[in-house]
């Protein structure tokens, strides 16, 4: 409460200094941040229940709903596709489109980065790819919300990637072998303590970068769109509307690209890190 209040006072004072009208940025963050209700303006809002489990607040929020929506969409799509493959090996329509993506993940992401034994990680990579892709696109739908623009969610996905990376490395190289292999060959003995620290830190910076990259990319686009549209209300004139809308549309199209690229990059880097953990010798 305090954070938002102080923010409001700051923005209010800034707005008063710049413009005579009262300005509030709550509306902007409202579209980006998680919420306890689903907004369907002007049709009203649905309030989501608060759930507490052993003192933990595990309330279902807007982003949880949209994650579930993504999961349901994926399950429905892949059930159809899977059934289509049982009927005939030749794909058509939806299965054809999905197959392109699956083969892309398999042949362009997993196979070159992991190499031998990539099949074991394929289910995880495919799920991550399609889940992030669907979440990204759900943010571009009216009344939609981008679950992947929430740092908690991207961090969790990154932690899962981290677990996959470490598990893959440990299963393939053995527990001791994996941690020994972290330090590159031919390093002088006196450097070992430093290298060990650097490498261990490196293990954690990788998923951290994954989380921040996904979160920042998906948040930035929405903020820019909202800011461009907000310009109309800040400047209080209709003349800026065509420009704002044109730019917002451009950013929206860019966001479609970003939605695809970020899903690709998250999967690609996860796969790359898994490959590095599994085959440590290069």
């Amino acid at each position: 409460m305090t954070g938002i209040d102080s923010l409001n006072t700051v923005s209010d004072s800034l707005a008063k200094a710049e413009n005579s009208g009262s300005q509030d940025t709550g509306w902007l963050m409202h579209h980006i941040l998680d919420a306890r209700e689903l907004d369907f303006e002007p049709f009203g809002t649905i309030h989501l229940p608060n759930i507490n489990l052993f003192g933990f607040d595990i309330s279902i929020t807007k982003h949880v709903i949209f994650m579930w929506l993504a999961a349901i969409i994926l399950i429905l799509i892949f059930r159809t596709v899977s059934k289509a493959y049982q009927k005939s090996l030749a794909p058509k329509g939806l299965s054809n489109f999905i197959e392109v993506l699956i083969i892309f993940v398999r042949d362009e992401i997993a196979k070159p980065t992991i190499g031998k034994g990539f099949e074991r990680f394929l289910p995880y990579l495919l799920t991550v790819f399609f889940f992030i892709l669907t979440c990204n696109f759900l943010g571009l739908v009216p009344y939609g919300s981008t679950a992947t623009s929430n740092i908690s969610i991207t961090a969790t996905l990154a932690i899962l990637s981290f677990i996959m990376i470490q598990a893959g490395g440990i299963i393939h190289n053995g527990f001791l072998g994996y941690f020994k292999g972290l330090v590159p060959h031919g390093v002088p003995a006196w450097l070992l303590p430093i290298m060990a620290v650097v490498e261990i830190l490196g293990l954690f910076t990788k998923p951290f970068a994954l989380a921040i990259r996904l979160f920042a990319n998906l948040t930035a686009g929405h903020i820019v769109i909202l800011a461009l549209l907000g310009l109309i209300f800040i400047l209080n004139t209709y003349f800026v509307a065509p420009v704002s809308i044109a730019f917002a549309l451009f950013i929206y199209l860019l966001e479609i690209l970003v939605a695809l690229i970020q899903a690709y990059i998250f999967t690609m880097l996860s796969s790359l890190f898994i490959g590095m953990a599994v085959h440590q010798d290069h």
Partner: protein
């Protein structure tokens, strides 16, 4: 500027509120994300990835096999064509040989027939000549007989006209000698 300062402020604000900050890490969301993602992973793995990837591999194998089969079939067909060509040229050679043989044989036969017919013709001509000679002889003999008869008749006539025996005798003699001379 306003916007960016707000974002920065929100990021710093951190501690949760009703709405929470942009960089807040909410345990409840982590919990739900893990649950959702792991469930999705398990469901999709069982329902989608395994069958789809299997059928993709199966299809790739099928395509590879079909291509190999087609390649083999093509090679086989080429081999067959080659064999056929060889057989055809051999057959042609054989046919040429047979024709040549036939021609040679027929020529020989013709020559033989020609020679045979020539000799036959010669034989026939010889036979005909012999026949002619024989016929001539016969005709001559007949003529001789006829002449003798005529002579006898003439002699009879003369005898009947001239009873003179001596004279008759001379005439006959003369006649006979003439006849033998001829």
């Amino acid at each position: 500027m306003l916007l960016f300062s707000n974002i920065a402020f929100l990021a710093l604000a951190g501690s949760g509120g009703e709405q929470g900050g942009l960089l807040d890490v909410v345990p409840g969301l982590i919990f739900w994300t893990v649950i959702t993602f792991v469930l999705l992973l398990l469901i999709l793995k069982k329902m989608a990835w395994k069958p789809i990837l299997n059928s993709l591999n199966e299809r790739e194998k099928l395509i590879k096999e079909s291509l190999e089969k087609a390649d083999n079939a093509r090679r086989e067909a080429e081999k067959l064509i080659e064999e056929n060509k060889a057989a055809l040229s051999k057959a042609e050679e054989e046919a040429q040989k047979i024709i040549a043989q036939g021609r040679e044989f027929s020529e020989k036969l013709r020559d033989q027939i020609l020679i045979e017919s020539k000799s036959e013709a010669k034989k026939i001509i010889d036979l005909a000549n012999a026949e002619i000679a024989r016929k001539n002889q016969e005709a001559f003999n007949q003529l001789k007989e006829e002449v003798a008869n005529i002579a006898i008749n003439a002699a009879e006539k003369i005898i009947r006209e001239n009873l003179d025996a001596d004279k008759q005798k001379n005439i006959v003699k003369k006649y006979l000698s003439d006849l033998t001379k001829n």
